[in-house]
């Protein structure tokens, strides 16, 4: 036999537990906020809502020990007297009945319903031989929101006439509705005790509740929130460490570096024969070879570069290509430019060996090649290209990919949580 009765919300179809089955009359669905009548075997929808459950300082279903007895938080309501608003929680223990927890501006009170009605009315009353003085005139208190289950028909918008009577820090509260008068004895409770009793909030598998607010007023935060946040901090830490370790490993595995540089002159409007720049050596089983082409300034020209790495031992050639282009002009939006005077080409999986680096090139003008005047004074227009070929570079693209893969997971969780908090 379980201690709770499971029902299905007729409004949203969600499964809800009735924790005080047999006692509870009203239940606000935790999923959609709809108000249900659970007093009879058949569940009846009283009022349909589609608002998410409000964040209360104590999550519904949380259990804690106060004054030696275990209590389950079964109901929560947000109340207001027009000036201030506060939260009240209904506690239940099947062997002890109901109690109240009131959270007013960070202070907690524990309330016990009275069966023996105080004597007297108005300003001064007597209860169990002690006098209590009225603190204020009766004020109208409104239930602004209701969540969970109650043993009477409580709905958002319900009002009651409330009067408080004090004796030291003990309070007797009288609440009158049209057909009922209820008395509650309230004593102050340190927030630390609440945190100690209800701090470890329950984890409900497969059901998320947004992080409760206001609990910090009691001096602590529920475990669930901190647990989740900590877990996320760990994830980011782990991702950072992995990224750094990977960076070191990739740099170490990419080296050592062997460099050769040279310069070629490319006449605009024609192509040059492959020219040997120099020799580089791949000393690991495989290395990347990056070839950078850097040109002097030009406008509206492009240079095609054909690279060949020729293995000295086998005369096998590995080919790659580069393109340097730069254009400027003016159109209806104003001046524009496109391209760059520099390009980098990365050749992967170059096996161990010694390579001669050959570069052939072809340069052209845009929109057309300049008219070649074999003028003795100016000569033919050429573009000077500085070539840098080297081994031992690492692939930054691969490292950035790793970084994205590492951060995607915690980042997604963070995004999801922020979205939920809104």
């Amino acid at each position: 036999m379980t201690a709770a009765r499971a029902i299905t919300c007729p409004a949203c179809g969600g499964t809800i537990e009735v924790r005080a089955a047999g006692f509870s009359v009203n239940l606000a669905c935790v999923h959609c906020g709809s108000l249900l009548d659970v007093s009879r075997p058949e569940v009846v929808l009283i009022e349909r809502h589609a608002e998410a459950a409000r964040a209360y300082a104590l999550p519904l279903g949380t259990r804690g020990v106060l004054y030696g007895d275990e209590w389950a938080v079964v109901g929560a309501t947000l109340r207001s007297d027009g000036e201030a608003s506060w939260q009240e929680f209904l506690l239940f223990n099947p062997y002890r009945g109901y109690r109240w927890l009131v959270l007013f501006e960070g202070d907690w009170q524990f309330g016990t319903p009275l069966t023996d009605r105080p004597q007297g009315d108005g300003v001064r009353i007597v209860w169990r031989g002690e006098g209590y003085a009225a603190v204020s005139d009766p004020t109208v208190t409104t239930n602004q929101a209701v969540a969970g289950e109650f043993y009477w028909r409580l709905a958002a918008g319900d009002t009651a006439q409330c009067t408080l009577f004090e004796r030291g820090d003990e309070v007797l509260s009288r609440e009158c509705t049209a057909d009922e008068e209820n008395w509650t004895h309230l004593v102050p409770l340190p927030g630390a005790l609440i945190a100690e009793a209800f701090g470890p909030a329950p984890t409900q598998p497969g059901r998320r509740r947004s992080a409760p607010q206001g609990f910090s007023a009691a001096g602590a935060k529920p475990q669930r929130e901190t647990g989740d946040r900590d877990d996320l901090v760990w994830m980011f830490g782990l991702a950072t460490i992995t990224a750094i370790v990977a960076l070191f490993a990739m740099v170490l595995l990419a080296g050592p570096v062997s460099v050769v540089t040279g310069r070629i002159q490319v006449p605009v409007g024609s192509r040059t024969q492959p020219e040997r720049i120099g020799t580089i050596t791949v000393t690991r089983p495989y290395q990347f070879v990056t070839i950078t082409a850097d040109t002097d300034n030009f406008h509206n020209r492009w240079v095609d570069l054909d690279y060949s790495l020729v293995d000295r031992a086998t005369q096998q050639s590995t080919d790659a290509y580069g393109l340097v282009e730069y254009y400027t002009g003016t159109d209806s939006d104003g001046a524009w430019s496109e391209g760059s005077h520099r390009t980098e080409t990365m050749i992967s999986r170059v096996p161990r060996g010694t390579y001669d680096v050959y570069v052939g090139a072809e340069a052209h003008g845009w929109p057309s090649d300049p008219v070649q005047t074999p003028d003795a004074w100016y000569g033919t227009e050429t573009i000077s290209v500085k070539i840098d070929a080297r081994t031992g570079a690492m692939s930054w693209g691969m490292w950035v990919t790793l970084l994205l893969g590492l951060l995607a997971w915690p980042g997604l969780i963070l995004w999801w949580r922020n979205r939920e908090d809104d």
Binding site: T2, A3, R19, V25, D69, E70, Y98, P113, R117
Partner: protein, 210 residues
């Protein structure tokens, strides 16, 4: 099916939910009663209560509903056979014994004759003054165990509670067969020194109730 005390002529068969009347003429099937809806009441058939120097055993239960909810009335029998009703609502208890003499109060004559009772009506029971605080039309939801009255689903009655300043209560009932009066006090489980309570999964029976 064991049929207990002759003072309790009605019994609910726990297997087929049939309400049975047994008297001098034999055993007669009265009708079906509903399976009681699940609740987390700590009381069960067989629970023993020791308020003061009495010893009461719970032998039956009726579940009543009103427009605003429902509650249990447990029938507890003293060792000498005196029946008591233990009302259970919102985790609080009311233990009453029959006190028909109060039906003769002039303020209640109208009620006995079938009239209504106004909220706030005060009655004087000896030195105590009690005020009508709870006036309900109730309907039976179901029953279990041995009972002095037939409890088919839908059985209706009027139920009125008068309360005093020290938790004392006068409970009046009126159905088609007539009116009855019950007098007693408010209790909690610890005060009733209840034993043989129902074990409720997920909850620990408090030490003082073991």
């Amino acid at each position: 099916m064991p049929v207990r005390g002759a003072a309790l002529p009605y019994a609910t068969c726990p297997y087929c939910q049939t309400l049975i009347l047994h008297d001098a003429r034999g055993v007669e099937e009265v009708g079906k009663v509903a399976v009681l809806p699940f609740d987390v009441s700590p009381i069960q058939l067989g629970t023993v209560l020791r308020p003061g120097d009495q010893r009461l055993t719970v032998v039956g239960r009726v579940r009543w509903a009103w427009s605003g909810g429902s509650w249990n009335e447990w029938l507890a029998q003293a060792d000498d056979g005196t029946p008591c009703w233990l009302g259970e609502a919102a985790g609080l208890y009311m233990l009453t014994v029959e006190a028909q003499q109060w039906l003769d109060l002039p303020e209640l004559r109208d009620f006995v004759a079938g009239g209504p009772i106004a909220p706030g009506l005060a009655v004087q029971l000896g030195a105590r003054r009690l005020v009508a605080s709870d006036i309900k039309e109730v309907e039976c939801l179901g029953s279990e165990g041995d009972l002095p009255l037939p409890t088919q689903v839908g059985t209706r009655m009027a139920s009125i509670d008068f309360r005093g300043t020290e938790g004392e209560v006068l409970s009046l009932q009126r159905d088609g067969r007539g009116a009855s009066a019950w007098f007693g006090a408010s209790w909690d489980l610890a005060g009733l020194r209840a034993t043989n309570l129902r074990a409720i999964a997920g909850w620990t029976l408090p030490k003082d109730l073991q």
